[in-house]
């Protein structure tokens, strides 16, 4: 059975069959046929104000739900503007499908108006990409794109479609199956290795779970929780993995790495077994690799075989879906009749005791002041209102690190930030995507004054759709993280980091028709945030914080993670104990 329809109609039909309910995009010349069909289609189109933000919003949607986010842009500049969002999704393994228009196939290569080699440009920005020049290929390719984006290690897929394909008429027959003979997805994990892992977990004296974004992507939070409870193993969650284990779970230590907590980094350094789950031993976590977890054997579970052994050679490599592998591991451990020896139990108790001591020695604290708003104070107040349940998006930089340190997340998919790529301007558009995906949720977009000014055009999107996002600008008048590095490593020479002109937040918000305010005194903070949350619509809260505050602890680049600088004024490195 087939129906005569246009390429654009086929495209929307395929999107509907993939369960797409929302597209973030920006129209243009060659996508006109697509937008014409969209005009009366049930799939919702969200008009952003810049294509980069369409990609970020699609990411926000995907990160908040686990579903594939969809964005679209026209040829040439529209497509090139998407690229930052594609790389961002690539680095953080976020499933999105980007649709771009291309000039007519006869014009390709002729330097036609708004022509760019989108297929070539986005090859290294995507998990896979396509150029459709024949209408008959369209349905198959669209379904392949969704399958590739969502399966295995998720990632962005771009489909570039020529205008003649969108305009052409053809017979459409639904595609129910696709065939990608070379696309290998490893899910189950090697049974023998899982058995070895179970044994190592039972025998370890100082085990530590090092869990990352893979837990979120795999939907393995319940399995993770079961594992740490079954084995009473302490756990750290990476920046990408926050919420994988609830922040207030007794086994949760905190985030490790460059701005991780003292306890988390010391635990990494002293563990004798690392159970690495959906992580990639990123440099921001490991510090100097040679000195990372020097006493630990490593069990590494990841769905991407190229990650296993990339940075650290594991003792037990397990390539598989962390949800399935953990389920099998939990079953083995639950059924095991091995009882730990008295010696082992004593060692485990001593391990927990040390971790509690490290936590007590240098806790992550919400510093406050009577005269100015400390950024940490701001995070603590947002945390109080969120209660670990709001969606929080961020950009990259100091505010991101303080938020990651001090906010609690009771579930996965609440903490949405640009981890691997570290894109400024991510937070606000990601919040837009997240709010469309989860209209029921309170969404905070915590951004710096730098990143906010990169995403200012999206205030129009927020206003236009009446999205009740609480935009909180942590405004220190600087590109704070760059300033921090200049202060610490470039002899206080603050080069090009001062952001000395910031718009009046009240007037700016009013210009878009919603409420906004600037505060700078600590006693204003709690009431202002409460007012923002009570406001049924959007709210822009500009919080002037102490301008020279630095994020601690900090592991200097190239340092070992137990050599943390714990706070100002630059104390001597704390040696490993």
């Amino acid at each position: 059975m087939s129906t005569l329809m246009s390429g654009a109609q086929m495209l929307l039909e395929c999107l509907a069959r993939e369960g797409v309910d929302c597209i973030f995009g920006y129209p243009g010349g060659v996508t006109l046929p697509f937008y014409d069909v969209l005009y009366e289609h049930h799939i919702r189109h969200v008009l952003v104000r810049h294509e980069e933000n369409a990609a970020f919003a699609a990411e926000g949607y995907a990160r908040a739900t686990g579903k594939v986010g969809v964005c679209c842009a026209t040829s040439g500049p529209g497509a090139t503007n998407l690229t930052t969002g594609l790389v961002d999704a690539m680095m953080d393994s976020i499933p999105i499908v980007a649709l771009t228009g291309q000039v007519s196939s006869k014009l390709i290569g002729s330097d036609a108006f708004q022509e760019a080699d989108t297929f070539g440009i986005t090859r290294p920005c995507t998990k896979h990409n396509y150029l459709i020049k024949r209408l008959e290929d369209l349905p198959q390719i669209i379904h392949e794109a969704f399958y590739i984006a969502a399966s295995g290690r998720p990632g962005p897929v771009l489909v570039d479609i020529t205008k003649d394909v969108l305009q052409g008429q053809g017979h459409y027959a639904p595609v129910n199956s696709i065939h990608l003979p070379g696309y290998k997805v490893f899910t189950e994990g090697h049974t023998g290795q899982i058995r070895r892992a179970a044994q190592m977990v039972q025998e370890a004296e100082r085990p530590l779970v090092y869990a990352g974004g893979g837990i979120i992507a795999a939907g393995a939070a319940n399995e993770l929780r079961e594992f740490v409870e079954l084995t009473d193993t302490p756990a750290v969650n990476t920046l990408m993995g926050l919420g994988g284990l609830p922040s207030d779970h007794p086994n949760f230590i905190s985030m490790p790495g460059m701005h991780g907590s003292y306890a988390a980094n010391m635990a990494m350094t002293h563990a004798d077994l690392l159970i690495a789950l959906g992580v990639r031993f990123d440099d921001r976590v490991t510090g100097r690799l040679a000195a990372f977890a020097p006493h630990a054997k490593v069990i590494h579970v990841d769905i991407d075989p190229a990650e296993v052994g990339k940075n650290r050679a594991p003792d037990v490599p397990i390539v598989g879906d962390v949800k399935r592998v953990l389920a099998k591991l939990n079953k083995l451990l639950a059924e095991s009749e091995a009882k730990p020896s008295e010696k082992l139990s004593a060692a485990r108790r001593a391990w927990w005791h040390r971790i509690r001591e490290w936590k007590a020695e240098h806790p992550l604290q919400a510093v406050t002041s009577d005269t100015e708003i400390k950024p940490q104070h701001l995070m603590a107040e947002i945390d109080r209102l969120s209660g670990g349940q709001a969606i929080v998006t961020s950009d990259v930089g100091q505010h991101q690190m303080w938020a990651a340190q001090l906010l609690r997340f009771r579930e996965p998919r609440l903490w949405i930030n640009s981890g691997g790529l570290g894109s400024m301007g991510f937070g606000l558009p990601a919040a837009i995507g997240a709010q469309f995906a989860r209209p029921d949720k309170l969404v905070f977009s915590i951004v710096g004054d730098g990143g906010f000014q990169m995403s200012i055009p999206e205030l129009a999107t927020v206003a236009s759709y009446g999205l009740p996002i609480k935009i909180v600008v942590m405004n220190n008048g600087y590109l704070g993280m760059v300033r921090q590095w200049q202060t610490l490593f470039y002899n206080h020479r603050l080069s090009a980091v001062e952001l000395d002109c910031f718009p009046d937040a009240e007037k700016l918000a009013a210009a878009y028709g919603f409420k906004g305010r600037t505060i700078e005194k600590p006693w204003e903070l709690a009431p202002a945030l409460e007012e923002a949350v009570k406001e049924p619509g959007p709210y822009l809260l500009n919080v002037r914080v102490s301008p020279l505050e630095n994020v601690y602890p900090m592991v200097p680049a190239g340092g070992a993670i137990n050599e943390m600088v714990l706070g100002p004024p630059q104390p001597a490195a704390v040696p490993a104990k």
Binding site: R123, H128, H143, N176, P181, G182, V185, P305, A306, G309
Partner: protein, 181 residues
């Protein structure tokens, strides 16, 4: 160190770009690359010789295997394999050396592809060292021009090719469920 990689990949637009892009984005210099269709016209076989640090060799193979269009990537650097290359060489030679040139070509198993009063075009196949020696010898007879094909390699032990089966799309899965119930 030079790594010899054999790839079996789908013959699709952009497949070559994905493979070379993976190497160039890591700053690796490709020494040679050959690609042509296999018995199955939908597939191509590619042999790449590339300069890669020893500790990165396994990573390169894993990354190649991750490419959607690649069915199989194999590292032939240290495994039993035959490596051959073709050289086409044009040598300008005076009348008095013509016989000597032909003799030398014969020693290297070369074949004269073209003969003219100015000289010869000769084709020779062999492993890269033999071809280097041949080129050196010919250079001693006169001005030469050389084209090399780059290495072609074939593993001596068959490696089992595991292809992935078709999978249902989201709507396909839903329809399967409906028809099953």
């Amino acid at each position: 160190m030079l790594q010899v990689i054999s790839l079996l990949l789908e013959n699709k637009p952009g497949a070559l770009m994905r493979v070379t892009g993976l190497l160039t984005q890591r700053g690796y210099n490709i020494e040679s690359l050959t690609v042509a269709r296999t018995l199955d016209p939908e597939l191509s076989r590619m042999t790449i010789v590339v300069d890669v640090e020893d500790n990165q060799r396994a990573q390169v193979i894993k990354q190649m295997n991750k490419l959607i269009n690649v069915l199989q990537a194999t590292d032939l650097t240290d495994s039993p394999a035959v490596c051959r290359e073709l050289v086409l060489l044009r040598v300008r030679t005076p009348q008095e050396s013509r016989t000597a040139v032909l003799k030398e070509a014969e020693i290297f198993g070369g074949r004269v592809a073209d003969s003219s009063p100015e000289g010869f075009a000769i084709e020779v196949t062999g492993d890269p060292e033999k071809l280097n020696a041949f080129i050196d010898v010919m250079r001693s007879y006169g001005e030469i021009d050389v084209t090399r094909s780059g290495s072609l390699a074939i593993a001596l032990e068959a490696k089992r090719l595991k292809l992935q089966p078709p999978v249902p799309t989201r709507a396909g899965r839903a329809e399967e469920k409906v028809s099953a119930s």
